[in-house]
């Protein structure tokens, strides 16, 4: 026994000294906090700051239009809405902290919007947008309906705000919606800048509630449910068997759904690579962490693989009609093939990446073996 232990000890010592490992992480510790800092400082807070500017502008334009419902003001309001909706795609995935508490994403972007409920609220004039039951009659999709969907053409739409017997009701609802978007956004941004950022960055543990685990779970969830399924899969009928053109994002404003999708895809790619908001500068993120871990033994690294797959999805989507509803109706197979490309990255991220990062998928922290 003694001899055997001695032999074993020698093996370990030799191993330790030569460190001739076939594969595996480098001896230097990887700075995981740098990832959190990069996300918070260069993606999340700048993203929300920019988005808050657009929501403020949206509210200003909504009030201006409400005061003077002219064609010019309608155009300006629509522009502000588009700007803001695009900016939202960069922060939608960060459903944590205050955003999670407020159910932020669901307040801003549930579609298809419930037009009957909207009309009912406007007619009665009595509504409380904070109620969960009204989630699907507010946010950007509700504004989409109010700005593009009320009538066949702009003149008809304007009539709702001018000559309609309840024109004031329509104007008030419009302003209330933009106000709520703006105030919720300010609340989330404020929370980030007044303390939550530090909490987020310093929570470097490795349990299910640590920032990295939480963020990666949120990110994959967003990619799977909101980007892949919400923007492409559901309208293409992947989950229902038959296409549902009415379920595209920004259904009433023709020609805008693709722009929103592209923006969201860019935001997802930027997050994965740690690309700073509105800049080409690149910081620490999941791609660097995967390269550090190098657990993957086959061919090119996992980070490259995921980025290549993002590119394939991007180029597949290039062929799509700017209006997804029209695309679904004319040639749904292109939507389905875009979906397939997006789907491949779900596998890479949910299976290979989560395994490499050893991140808990489940929030139930039951015992393990």
């Amino acid at each position: 026994m003694k001899k055997f232990s001695l032999l074993l000890l020698t093996v370990f010592v030799v191993w330790g000294c030569t460190n001739n490992a076939p594969s595996g992480p480098n001896a230097d510790d990887f700075d995981r906090q740098a990832i959190l800092e990069n996300w918070a400082n260069n993606l999340i807070i700048p993203g929300f700051t920019h988005f808050a500017e657009t929501t403020a502008e949206l509210q200003v334009q909504a009030e201006a239009f409400s005061e003077t419902p002219s064609p010019q003001n309608l155009t300006a309001l629509r522009e502000a809405w588009k700007e803001s909706y695009l900016a939202f795609q960069h922060v939608s995935m960060f459903e944590m902290g205050k955003a999670m508490e407020l159910n932020y994403r669901n307040n801003l972007n549930i579609y298809p919007t419930d037009t009957d409920e909207i009309e009912g609220s406007i007619e009665s004039g009595e509504y409380n947008l904070a109620l969960p039951s009204l989630l699907d009659s507010q946010g950007f999709p509700a504004l989409d309906y109010l700005l593009y969907g009320l009538g066949e053409n702009d003149a008809e739409i304007l009539n709702y705000y001018t000559t309609n017997t309840n024109a004031e009701g329509y104007r008030t609802y419009l302003v209330d919606l933009s106000q709520r978007i703006d105030s919720l956004t300010k609340e989330v941004l404020n929370h980030w800048t007044s303390g939550y950022r530090d909490e987020f960055v310093s929570n470097t543990g490795n349990d299910a509630n640590a920032s990295l685990d939480m963020m990666v779970n949120d990110y994959i969830y967003y990619y799977e449910k909101h980007l892949r399924a919400g923007k492409i899969g559901i309208p293409a009928g992947v989950f229902s068997g038959s296409p549902l053109s009415g379920h595209v994002e920004a259904y009433y404003s023709d020609d805008f759904s693709k722009a929103l999708f592209n923006e969201a895809l860019t935001a997802s790619i930027n997050f994965f690579n740690g690309t700073h908001f509105n800049s080409d500068q690149n910081g620490q993120s999941l791609d660097d962490y995967l390269e550090y871990l190098e657990i993957d033994k086959e061919g090119s690294g996992l980070a490259t693989l995921i980025n290549t797959q993002f590119d394939s999805a991007r180029s597949e989507a290039e062929n799509l009609n700017p209006d997804f509803a029209a695309q679904v109706e004319s040639d749904n197979s292109l939507m389905l093939s875009t979906y397939d490309e997006l789907q491949r990255n779900v596998v890479f991220m949910k299976v290979d990446m989560l395994q490499a990062l050893n991140i808990n998928v489940d929030y139930v922290d039951a015992d393990g073996d």
Partner: protein, 456 residues
């Protein structure tokens, strides 16, 4: 061993204190486990909230009972307390075995080797006279009270513990564990935030050191515990090993259970001292039990029956872990014969399973949102284990039949990554899973592994 020496071994007796201490520790730790489980809200999360439960083959009839599920846990906790007290011991240990096993059989999502160990240990204890000394039963019943018990009744516990360790060690003798330090190479770096150890756990040589010493520990500890001279030193190892695993991995109460049960290897002196201490605290008269009497089974058939069952039990325990040899293919990939075999911490498996429902009448096809039916925990377990995938497919078939599709076909696109390998297709996506009945036969609808993990 010839017949006469076997006979003399079987009639040999030992001081009953080790068995009494084991009974008390086991009962108390089980009581704490049940309370902890309830306090974390796991009863609700794991057995009441889900709308579908995965059953073991042949145990479909074991289902959670809605609100009554709490009652099973109460029975389990109370019977554990009674076992500790040695109060109505036989009934209590039988009730404990039944209620605990029922809980484990309700949903195989939560399968852990540790829980299986508890189940079979409690089964074994049904047939051991663990209540003849230092128990309420023995205090009340003078005829039962005995200071000496058959030596084999203590050795049976030792044998079970030895099997657990040794088989766990054998299972580690494979190329992933020894040559790639997998899955430790994935798990340990993620523990970067543990004080003192965090940085060390990033080093590759540490992963290998953990892998090799873990295997060596499992294989040698039974012998080191059995041999008197190495025993104290071995026990220190047991404590260090289990405390370390407790720090590194979320393994709940198991380390304490293993540390506690390893005490059985010590001489009765230690246990008598422990019982004296307890007697001091609670003002119990230990001397009442020290009557030098030798425990006799009340009836000869009870002794023979117990010994027969225990023998059959161990034969099964020795053979069951090797049943994987009856199946072709890589065990880690197909998991045919993986459970109930002390294969602990050997795999990091991640998977993704996307189910497609096809209505053959009109060609309509769509994908299933798994979160509609399964908890995240269930989905995670389902996506890497073929028996789960099949059972879930049959559940989906029933569900969509109720939704009006007369003969739904269910296909799955699934990917699994094993021990750091790139994800690969898992189940054949062209197989209609509704056509396949669950069985213990080899599953030819799983893609081959296309790699080799050498070893046992």
């Amino acid at each position: 061993m010839n017949t006469s020496s076997l006979r003399s071994y079987l009639s040999g007796t030992k001081n009953a204190a080790p068995l009494a201490v084991l009974r008390i520790l086991f009962g108390l730790l089980m009581l704490i486990s049940i309370i902890r489980f309830a306090a974390y809200g796991w009863i609700y999360k794991l057995y009441i909230e889900p709308q579908f439960f995965f059953s073991y083959y042949g145990f479909k009839w074991v289902q959670p009972l809605g609100g009554w599920t709490y009652l099973i846990f109460i029975i389990c906790g109370l019977s554990a307390l009674f076992v500790a007290l040695g109060f109505k011991y036989r009934i209590s240990i039988i009730l404990f075995f039944l209620s605990f096993s029922y809980i484990e059989l309700m949903d195989k999502t939560t399968y852990l080797n540790h829980y299986y160990f508890i189940s079979i240990l409690s089964f074994l204890m049904i047939f051991l006279p663990a209540h003849t000394y230092y128990s309420v039963d023995a205090w009340r019943d003078e005829k039962l009270r005995s200071q000496e018990v058959p030596a084999w009744s203590i050795d049976a516990i030792k044998l079970l513990i030895c099997i657990v360790y040794f088989y766990a060690g054998l299972a580690k003798l494979n190329s992933d564990w020894l040559l790639e330090a997998m899955p430790l190479q994935i798990w340990l770096p993620a523990k970067y935030s543990i004080p003192l150890l965090g940085d060390l756990l990033q080093q590759t040589w540490v992963h290998y050191a953990f892998a090799w010493s873990g295997a060596l520990y499992d294989l040698s500890i039974p012998f080191l515990l059995l041999y008197r001279k190495t025993r104290p030193f071995a026990f220190i190892f047991v404590v260090i090993f289990h405390v370390l695993t407790r720090v590194l991995f979320p393994i709940g109460m198991f380390p304490y259970i293993m540390i506690g049960s390893a005490l059985i290897f010590f001489d009765a002196n230690l246990h008598n001292r422990i019982l004296s201490k307890i007697s001091g605290w609670f003002n119990i008269s230990k001397s009442l039990f020290d009557n030098s009497r030798i425990y006799q089974f009340p009836k000869a058939w009870q002794r023979k029956g117990s010994m027969g069952i225990i023998t059959a039990f161990f034969v099964l325990q020795l053979l069951l872990p090797f049943r994987y040899m009856l199946y072709p293919g890589e065990l880690f990939w197909t998991e045919e014969g993986y459970r109930f075999s002390w294969r602990v911490m050997l795999m990091e498996k991640a998977g993704y399973a996307n189910f497609k429902v096809v209505n053959p009448e009109n060609g309509q096809r769509f994908y299933v949102d798994n979160t509609q039916f399964l908890t995240r925990f269930q989905e995670k377990q389902m996506s890497t284990q073929p028996d789960f995938i099949l059972e879930y497919a049959h559940f989906l078939k029933d569900h969509y039949q109720q939704q009006g599709i007369e003969n739904p076909e269910i296909y799955v696109e699934s990917y699994v990554a094993l021990n750091g390998r790139r994800s690969r297709p898992y189940v054949d996506p062209d197989v209609d899973l509704t056509e396949i009945e669950p069985s213990l036969k080899h599953r030819n609808w799983i893609h081959p592994f296309n790699d080799e993990i050498k070893g046992l």
